[in-house]
Amino acid sequence: MRAHEIYPNGGPRIGVYVCHCGFNIAGKVNVREVVEFAKTLPFVVVAREYKFMCSDPGQEMIREDVREHRLDRVVVAACSPSLHEATFRRALEQAGQNPFFFQMVNIREHVSWVTEDPREATEKAKALVAAAVRRVIFHEPLQRRRVPVKDRVLVVGGGIAGIHAALTLADAGKHVYLVEREPTIGGHMAMFDKTFPTLDCAACILTPKMSQVAAHPNITLWTYSEVIQVEGFVGNFRVRVRRKPRYVIEELCVGCLQCIDACVYKDARFPDEFNLGLGKRKPIYIPFPQATPRVVLIDPETCIWFKTGKCKQTCLEACERAAIDFKQQERIEEIEVGAIILATGFKTFDARRIPEYGYGKYPNVYTALEVERLVNASGPTGGEVRLRDGRIPKRVGIIHCVGSRDERFNRYCSRVCCMYSLKLAHLIKERTGAEVYNFYIDMRTPGKGYEEFYDRLLQEGVHFIRGRVAEVTDWAITPDEEGKLIIRVEDTLVGAVRRIPVDMVVLAVGLEPQPDADEVRRMFNISCSKEGFFLERHPKLAPVSTFTDGIFLAGACQGPKDIPDSVAQAGAAAAEALALIDKGFVELEPNTAYIVEALCSGCKTCIGLCPYNAISFDEARMIAVINEALCKGCGTCVAACPSGAARQHLFEDAQIFQEIEGVLAYV
């Protein structure tokens, strides 16, 4: 049957536009040939090429043709639809055409960038264009769906990124739930003494923000709590949060700390998590003096009452506000939010994984985070850099790239270690006067004032030895090495192997995804990149969005980041969330499934398949019906419907069959 027989009135009028994308496409695909080929396809009225179709003149070209040539179907062959499908649909709309009479062909990501031979690339591009032209004939006019949006935001993680995002949104008048797993907010930043390169006191800039969070009327702060379930979709997430028992009633505790003094343990004797075991705490404790909320908690693992059931419970007596409650149970809170910001942060690399560096074997090998606590005025040594035996080190080696830039562990550069190593080198030298050696592969200081800070350290006489350390050992060869840790390294700039005896080794451990990042990602239905950090929607154009609408990323959960970048990203995530919820509604792709009622036999095959319970059985009419508001458009029911009564907008069988035939058109 000929086209004119199907379409006695002339049939659809298709315009095909092939983008050069500069050289990105045109450097490989013979665009002219693709255009000429497109002209031979049925119903194609015009076919054109342009340098950058997504640019304004490119879009204008489409709009003009739609008006002038009365185009009612448009195919654009350019980049991935995830980048510019929306752009071109809008262009159609502006030209007065239904935006869904459009099909995008991905000849950049799927052709020019992944095909070596220009000939083959051109052929593949032609086939994909042929497929799109065939498909678009079968497109129907559709309407986007509008769904109202909940006016509240969930921020997961109370580090600097989560804090900043929460405050930004709260200041804009939106209600924020800030959920933090630890008993206090503050995250890693709260552990630092100074921040690079300005050497601002971390506490001075962080603790005011922490108090603001606690005091803000628009923020509900849940620490010692974890998100356990997420349902729903953009604008309408239903979230369940588990609040672990602190055995202290948060609302009653005023943080007087009388209970801690009263504890039957006279001395603090349990390793203190906040100080990474370098300090001690009691079973009833507050993580650190500026902890927010300033509420104590009881660790049932070490508390005598929980372990034996026998204790004088002196803490209970000491508390004038009767805030201590040994019977406290965990609580599950349920909230509804329109958007979610994930700011779950990072963990540091476990230095034990590189036995060559002797962490865990030699007591004087420290991780950088431990040294952060040592140099911190409120840390276990009151800011004095002392070894475990109390000595003050005279020579200190800082090894960079521990667990980073290493195929065996993490391939990536952790981005912050160079700078924090410089900072620690400075602080150690300042506090102890020690000779400090930095062992680095490459110095990476690409930030405002960072290179200047590096220069300052060079001026201070800190040693910089370019070479990755192979081994830290206590094997002395020369007398001056006796009793020291010897660092073996090639000084690659000198071109010789050196053995450098030191008293203290600091391992600049890299940043890794949180150990439970994969479970969290599943719960929120987002992706992880290869190294396990949460995956952004687009590295450049959508760096704080995810592939799940309404879920945004902030801080180091997306990849290693320093404080300025985390804060900047938190602000961006907050702005994105705000833009989403402030609008009041979201528009959804009209790719929902529907049932042609007259054709449904009521076989119920589809009903049990729907993950969202969007399909129900209409007992009166004995057929299945789809609630399009609940449908997310996966199409599983459509594939299963044995009689073809269930269908899917934008992914109609006929459209896909046409596409199959098209891609197989080996021209």
């Binding site: 031979d117 239905n525 199409g635 594939a639 992914f651 069988d653």
Partner: protein, 169 residues
């Protein structure tokens, strides 16, 4: 350097249709592009929202219209954007493979792979491997089918041009 199978002079170039889910595998294919990971041009991708949308008819249609191999890509088990569409794809795939076997079609011509959004390199690897597998198997010699293949009827009978022959002029 890519290890793309080089087009031989043997004349046989496998034709491969790939149905990729929008969220994981299609995105991974985009990533393969962004990372310039060249792979065999034989693999041509059709986007579905979910591997659960994969109707076995699509696979058979692809074979009928000249595909020598069909690739289905979905999110890893447990990772489906729509909770468990990929499990449904897996069930259909396994049953379909049994059917193909009985129809004398090598099972390797149909392959289901789980590729997450970050696994651009896996798209490259799978595309190249699969193309090689099909190249080794040779063309699918499906007997020519007499008569026209009718497209299924459309939702609204008019003015949609469905319910007509599949072969456009």
């Amino acid at each position: 350097m890519s290890e793309r199978p080089v087009a031989g002079d043997k004349g046989f170039e496998p034709r491969i249709v790939a149905f990729f889910c929008n969220w994981c595998t299609y995105t991974a294919a985009d990533l393969a592009g962004t990372a310039r990971m060249a792979y065999a041009p034989n693999v041509r991708i059709i986007r579905l929202m979910c591997s659960g949308r994969l109707d076995p008819q699509f696979v058979l249609a692809a074979f009928r219209h000249g595909a020598d191999g069909v690739l289905i890509g979905g999110c890893h088990p447990g990772d489906c954007h729509y909770q468990e569409g990929n499990y449904k794809a897996l069930r259909r795939y396994l049953l379909l493979k049994r059917l193909l076997r009985e129809m004398g079609i090598e099972e390797e011509r149909l392959r289901l792979v789980w590729i997450s959004a970050s696994e651009g390199d896996r798209v490259q690897k799978v595309a190249n491997e699969f193309t090689e597998t099909i190249r080794r198997l040779g063309p699918l010699r499906l007997a020519p089918r007499p008569g026209m293949i009718r497209l299924p009827a459309a939702a609204q009978p008019e003015p949609q041009p469905a319910a007509r022959e599949g072969v456009l002029p």
